[in-house]
Symmetry: none
Subunit: 213 residues, 4 copies
């Protein structure tokens, strides 16, 4: 039986023989001229939601940040290593992308952990619970409105609210706010519903996530 690492190596051989060979001219140009993606995607680490696959895009199209629950923390210059902020800075200021998509999805384990937490009880998950605090506004909004609903429904609502929190947080970065104000950069909230195979977009006018079709 093939172990998982061997399977990935087999996969690389297929990639090399098919995708890489077919796109050889594109890879060559991308290697020579460097990348110039037009869009940043902030996606989740979840193994079921690969942004490049879900949008069937080409090499060079998407600059992709992936963290637990596709969160953008607020701008803050103290502390030490800010991985997501560094990636946003690289994409916005160096690559000068024109779009940032926060791509949420259903059944997010990080959001579920956040909604399951008993307030006041210190979680055992040091890094996760600390990281998920980025979305605490989203959690509070859901608890205030849907306190009696099931954990499933609360979590789905929180997954979408958390996208809005991240869109808000994006605007706390001065060089993002400036470009959005000048219409050089647009922010988008998307939500992949893997059960239905549907993609929803946040519509600021209706204040809802609406299906594409």
């Amino acid at each position: 039986m093939m172990n998982h690492i061997e399977k990935l190596i087999e996969g690389f051989r297929r990639f090399r023989n098919n995708n890489y060979t077919q796109n050889h001219a594109l890879f060559e140009r991308l290697a020579k001229q460097g990348q110039s993606p037009k869009t940043i995607v902030v996606g989740c680490c979840d193994s079921r939601v690969d942004p490049a696959i879900v949008t069937d895009c080409d090499p060079g199209d998407l600059f992709i940040i992936r963290n637990v629950a596709n969160l953008v923390p607020p701008y803050e210059t103290s502390g030490t290593y800010h991985g997501t902020s560094a990636a946003l800075e690289f994409g916005v200021r160096h690559l000068q992308v024109e779009n940032i998509i926060v791509l949420g999805h259903c059944q997010c384990g990080g959001i579920r952990a956040l909604m399951s937490q008993t307030p006041g009880v210190e979680s055992q998950d040091g890094f996760i619970s600390s990281w998920m605090k980025v979305a605490s506004h989203a959690r509070n909004r859901v608890l205030s409105r849907k306190h009696e609903e099931s954990l499933e429904k609360q979590s789905r609502a929180c997954e979408q609210e958390a996208i809005l929190v991240s869109l808000d947080n994006l605007l706390t970065f001065p060089w993002i706010l400036e470009r959005v104000a000048q219409k050089k950069l647009a922010l988008h909230g998307w939500y992949f519903d893997m059960e239905e195979g549907d993609l929803l977009r946040y519509d600021p006018d209706s204040n809802r996530f609406e299906p594409l079709s």
Copy 2:
């Protein structure tokens, strides 16, 4: 002319009609039973190096963290939001993956920025230069040995050294070290050479990155 967002939406429609439909049973099972990936990939945000595409893997196979230069910072409990550490914790302690692959690649913009920095001159890139400090040992090793080589050669060497720094840093997380020692978790350093379409693996015995074949 189609703008970039419309192109991504077109891409999603293709994904839905092809990939999603063909894998419908898999997506349904993954939605119902949750994800159980066997491997974490720490990859770069670079638009040319999508881990799931380069390994041609299936939905549910890879838990993917993507940050600038595919770095793992050392374990540290102070500070505020640790996105990469939270994602590692989720993948290792909750999903119980069996492998962590640090996937570097050639022509990494983050590493290039690190190698181009004039020592002692404060960079304008607040978050990027702070984040790239994770790889400062790698930079130092390269400068000490290859001071007279071109920036291209230095950067390529640093891309590979930085993978080793991240492998070291992974071991600073107590719950990673414990599992590695018990042989429940294996750490891998991989390097994708997009110019050659080659995948190199770090071999601890030879202390070199060796091509797959």
Copy 3:
């Protein structure tokens, strides 16, 4: 019976009658013109491994730093007293040495203490366990690879890995990195095996400690 202090005084009289008298011109010149050693040795306090004796060198040859486990901590400007860093600064910037040798040895008590520590159990040895954290990367590497080997084998491996950590840390000092890059200063990792009476040198090409002969 002669106590230990009297024995040392006896030793000084021998030194004065033999070594000092024979090298009188050298001592006189060194006193008048000052020292100009070409090499720093970072050695252990261990009573069995005296760097000047093991290399049978002359007065004025070696600028010798000795601390527990011959460690070099990373460059850091906060905190208060940095004895090893101050000594490196004196040797490198004032005396302008051309070599730094990190001289490890077998059966190092500090390394043994580090490898014996139960993770998560706070040690009673405040200063020692805090100091030995300099070598935690070395410990982690050994535990990840040799978890099932005896404490003796693990300690020996850690003694050698710790030398590599110190070599890395030397490069975090900007005025060391600069001189190494310019080939004005060379760094060496040596290991004295007192059981065999052998001296091993780290060879970066083979990534191994190789015997001199």
Copy 4:
């Protein structure tokens, strides 16, 4: 012409053929049974003053700490790495030595730097000037009494006063004070005058450094 590293390797071969071979039984016993030195020496890094050579002692006799100007900083538990304190802890609490000798010497570069500093002028030597603050009491005493004497005379006075400061600081370590009070541990201040080939000892009764003979 032989370079300096080759010269040290030659020296090791001589050591191996002479000293190591002659003391083979002793080295073997020390390797098997571990070290049990009776004395700690806090010496200077200075290349002209090797404690083991100046006292012509045997392998295993002296546990030797060497830093700039043979200083003992006061006991303090904050900060990060305390190399000298860790070494004292190892020698006193683990090896249970019976003596600590602070071994100063004439023409100490660290003391000279301290006495040359213009008060209020920030030194360029970050680590050295910070480290030498350990001896600031010694400097102040000398300046208050010998303000008009030459830098040479001031420095020599300060070299001896600094030994007394270190003896004071040794007593700030609770496990040293306790052992000294119980007469299990004795503290000594020695001063090597390399110009005269003389060794002076501090005599608490006369409050002077007196020659051995």
